[in-house]
């Protein structure tokens, strides 16, 4: 197990990069997922169709394929994902600015894929709000937007905390794939590096990597439990 101490900086570096990807991807996926959820429940049929189509495509495609497309398809189409170089943000997340675009490609793939699940988690929350509530609000003369803002979303949020948490935890675990699509030095790639180039035994390295992921996921799960308890609505 000495590898965990000897190579602590390598594990820490991998952890840090994975955390950066996860934070950025989670923010992106929550934003895009929320937009999609609104599309899917909107009263305008073409918008609904766009939302449904998106969810059906990305939810049913393996993440590896999405990653493949982001890492090799986008460059083939001539994009280096430069639009993700947000001024200011790339000072904090320096990898956004490096000229090897695989960090940005990986981010795009994770966001696109996870957003479909975020959308469905939010929609399940909306569905959990009794239909009578929305009908009552409508009959009071509230518009679609007001209805969402004041009646439906505040209640649906409580119902979606748990599924949303599962989606984000799944996303953190899915991020283990990015190392194989050109993002140098994330946590999962650290394992490969240590076992295959430096010849460390696999088991302790794998344990170290697992701890790295657990540090990200377990507290998140505990936090969600707390939120759920505090916000719980008696039904």
């Amino acid at each position: 197990m000495s590898v965990l101490i000897d190579k602590f900086d390598v594990f820490a570096g991998g952890f840090w990069l994975t955390l950066q990807i996860c934070v950025l991807a989670a923010v992106g996926a929550l934003l895009l997922g929320a937009v999609l959820a609104v599309l899917r429940i909107s009263p305008v049929p073409p918008l609904r169709a766009v939302g449904t189509g998106y969810v059906n495509v990305f939810r049913n495609m393996p993440l590896t394929v999405v990653m493949f497309f982001a890492a090799f398809g986008l460059p083939a189409l001539g994009s280096n994902a430069d639009f993700l170089r947000v001024p200011g943000l790339d000072a904090v997340f320096s990898r956004l600015d490096t000229d090897l675009p695989y960090f940005r490609f990986a981010l795009i793939a994770l966001v696109l894929y996870t957003a479909a699940f975020v959308c469905e988690a939010l929609r399940s929350g909306v569905n959990a709000v009794p239909a009578g509530q929305a009908e009552a609000a409508r009959s009071l003369g509230l518009t679609f937007g007001q209805n969402l803002r004041y009646v439906v979303l505040p209640q649906s949020w409580k119902a979606s905390v748990v599924p949303l948490g599962s989606v984000i935890i799944a996303m953190i675990k899915n991020s283990a794939l990015v190392g194989f699509f050109g993002v140098v030095g994330d946590l999962s790639q650290t394992a490969d590096q240590l076992t295959s180039a430096e010849g460390y035994a696999f088991v302790p390295v794998a344990i170290g990597i697992s701890i790295g992921y657990l540090i990200m996921t377990v507290p998140l799960g505990a936090l969600l439990d707390r939120i759920e308890k505090r916000q719980a609505v008696a039904r």
Binding site: F72, F181, T195, S196, A197, G199, A201
Partner: protein, 292 residues
Amino acid sequence: MRITRVATLAAAATLALGMTACGGDDADEGTGAGSKSFAAGSTMERLNKAQAIKIGTKFDQPGFGQKGLSGKPEGFDVEVAKIIVKELGIPEDKIEWVEAPSKVREDVIVNGTVDLVAATYTINDKRKERIAFAGPYYEAGQNIMVKKDEAAITGPDSFKDGAKKVCSVTGSTPAEEIKKYVKDVATQLVLFDTYDKCRDALKGGQVDAVTTDNVILLGYIAKDEASFKLAGENFTKEPYGLGVKKEDTDFRNFVNDTLEKAFADGSWKKAWDDTAGKFGAELGAAPTVNRY
């Protein structure tokens, strides 16, 4: 389990009888139990008695160990392993090929999952701490592959100015080696899990070069001469060895003896010509076996 073992023994016995019946030239080919004798208690005796051997190799390394549509791995590593197996008096079809990608090669030897590893396995001191190497049986060298029209990259020193990007495979020896030459690892080095992805990235213009052992690159160039070329000479020496258990000195000596015999009688050169030699890679003189 028991039934399979009995069946295996029965099959082996039938085969041995069959071989004896053939007679003639086959008699001294060394197939079948009992036609060879080894020191009691040695690994060689155990394998010969069992008439079975498990060998770890790569399934995705063109020219060395690649599992194609035939379902059997083919390549130089595979042929070298077959020479050893033949010397053990075990027929070729009794070899069980086990995939041994880079990251598990030490583990499968230590755990006894395989008896021998032949998998473009560079001999180095770090690995020697856990396993032992027989050989080398080939000396590869790291090189750089670029696009045909690339003129700015002439060798590893071309990466020192921090502009050109290079691709290799996670955890491989070449990836570690090229780090000495690049100015900034984070922006200049791309790592994938297979060299195929590196080749695609090079073709797509995402990176300027791919680096690994010359033989692997020559495999790609042989398939697509219009797109790629080597940039400069080999800049490292990568002696490929056969991995065995660390404490099993008898077996290691036996493998070393067999390799020396194969260097002398031409079977080593034939193995090369039939496999990686087809890519146009140089074989060079037989390496000197290192009995450390």
